[in-house]
Symmetry: C2
Subunit: 325 residues, 2 copies
């Protein structure tokens, strides 16, 4: 029933509207908007669903948010909405924690095995119809460092351990008895610990503390046989330093699903460097992910609409959902 | 000490001799031979080490084996030496069971994830510097049938289960409580069970019973979205039926490490068919595999030389080492 007290929900989306919104449309006024019309949509809106989670249009439209109480983003990373006005406001921010965990973990294990077994080399030779036997690396027993101890990092750690790798974590707080990681090293010791690992996986949230943490110093500290995997955010890396490290053979390879600039420009050196696997920010996007994202939002919407506590509330000072919440 | 009672060991190898043979050379007369000189090497030899495990030269030289008591082959599959004269003889046959298990299992999990996440598609797009987002499949929850319940099949089953797949086995004897497979279906029911699986992995020993078991009827029974993985022997498959099934989209793809003819001829359609991953019989060959093969042989040689029971004795009627031996 839509009536005078009907809540107003703005939805930031591209041409593709979110699926499965019928239930929400039956209890709220839903305003679908692209980046252009966002200010108009926000005027008088009670809530904002950032379905186009890569958009950076929210800050410019924020001035129109005169009644907004809640923002939900259809991603795990909340960096696109971490602008000072939202952080300073009373608006509650929630994210889509949990949706992508297992699927990103599968992608990470896949690229680890692809490196070890040289699947790209086999595909290259196959294109030339060339039979050329090579020896390959074992996966079991190799050491992996997962930088980022949120739910995606935990899923990665569990899956890599299940496949026989020796895994450690890196997070804000050092500990020895983590159920998923065993040892968690403190982020401040990154460079000291990097030489121990065959695979280094970046999945930390993007914050002022983590921005550019993988720089020339970090790549120089890695083993020359190490591979770097980024399923977090492109800005965790100083991209030019990564390109140099790969060119000079300071590390053996990289699997990159995220980039400082997306789409990755077609003339960027990362497309063609030896040992690099580029994928277009898709590691978590399993068939059905859009429906699952809307399910997560719809669950929170139902809670919000009935006055119950929201799930996945972001600590706007930390820039992510603290564990245990 | 080499003396009159010194045993004579013939070693069938190519240009590349096995490594680490010094200890054996100190107690035996070792005759390294290619395929050409094998009959001469066998004359008066007590034992034969088939280091060149893909060679089919043993049957033609067998007439010269006048003193032979033991043959050891540097592979898990013993089909190259399963000719009638050896089977009918008192010569003991041993294999290299165990060496390749974990490494082949890693390869299988790698191609399963590569299919699910479309890594070949990402590499294709990368070569064109094209950013094209796609949705990918989950691995967790998918169903895999491992056809072959020897140690390699068991390692595959354990690793796929660890990665979240639902695994069943197929072997001679049906059972419900297998520690690695849970349910093992009997081979006679292959076609009846094939429709249940997303991944079908062939790792059975090549025998008269298993030869050509994956034929047009089998491929027609699989799901159109299913992928076939062969890490056993090429002859388990009717290759022309597999080509037809792939061409007509009766199955979605195949990862093939073994072929009826090896090397796979450069004009063979399997090199270029959509959805096919070709690798050159290397799935088990981790860095160090040759040394490990010689260690396994050296352990058995030491047992043989000191009159202790040999490991990995092949049941020459079955064509493999029965489990529990």
């Amino acid at each position: 029933m839509i009536g005078p007290k009907t809540p107003v929900l703005a939805v930031l989306c591209g041409d593709q509207h979110p699926p499965d919104m019928k239930t929400i449309e039956s209890v709220a006024e839903v305003r679908y908007s692209g980046e252009e019309g966002l200010a108009d949509a926000l005027r008088g809106a009670d809530a904002l669903f950032v379905y186009d989670f890569l958009s950076t249009a929210v800050p410019a439209a924020w001035h129109a948010a005169d009644k907004l109480r809640w923002v939900h983003i259809a991603s795990a990373g909340v960096d696109p909405v971490m602008f000072p006005e939202l952080r300073a406001s009373d608006v509650v921010l929630t994210n889509s924690r949990g949706v992508f965990d297992d699927s990103i973990a599968e992608y990470v294990l896949g690229v680890v095995i692809a490196f070890a077994k040289d699947l790209p080399g086999s595909l290259d030779l196959q294109r030339q119809s060339r039979w050329q036997h090579r020896e390959s690396e074992r996966v079991g027993g190799r050491r992996a460092l997962v930088v980022g101890t949120g739910p995606i990092g935990r899923a990665i750690a569990r899956l890599l351990r299940a496949a026989g790798l020796k895994v450690s974590g890196m997070g804000r707080r050092a500990r020895e008895d983590d159920p998923d990681f065993g040892t968690v090293h403190p982020s401040a010791d990154l460079v000291r610990h990097l030489p121990e690992f065959d695979y280094v996986i970046a999945v930390a949230p993007l914050t002022e503390q983590t921005k550019g943490m993988f720089d020339a110093t970090a790549f120089a500290a890695m083993k020359p046989v190490a591979r770097f995997v980024n399923v977090g955010r492109g800005e965790l890396v100083v991209t030019s330093d990564l390109v140099t490290a790969l060119r000079e053979g300071r590390i053996a390879g990289a699997a990159l699903d995220v980039f400082e600039t997306e789409p990755l420009p077609s003339d960027h050196p990362l497309w063609t460097l030896d040992g690099v696997l580029v994928s277009p920010h898709m590691s978590g996007d399993f068939v059905g992910w859009r429906n699952t994202l809307v399910e997560v939002f719809a669950d929170n919407f139902e809670r919000w609409h009935t006055g119950r506590p929201l799930r996945n509330v972001v600590d706007k000072q930390l820039g992510y959902v603290p564990s245990g919440h």
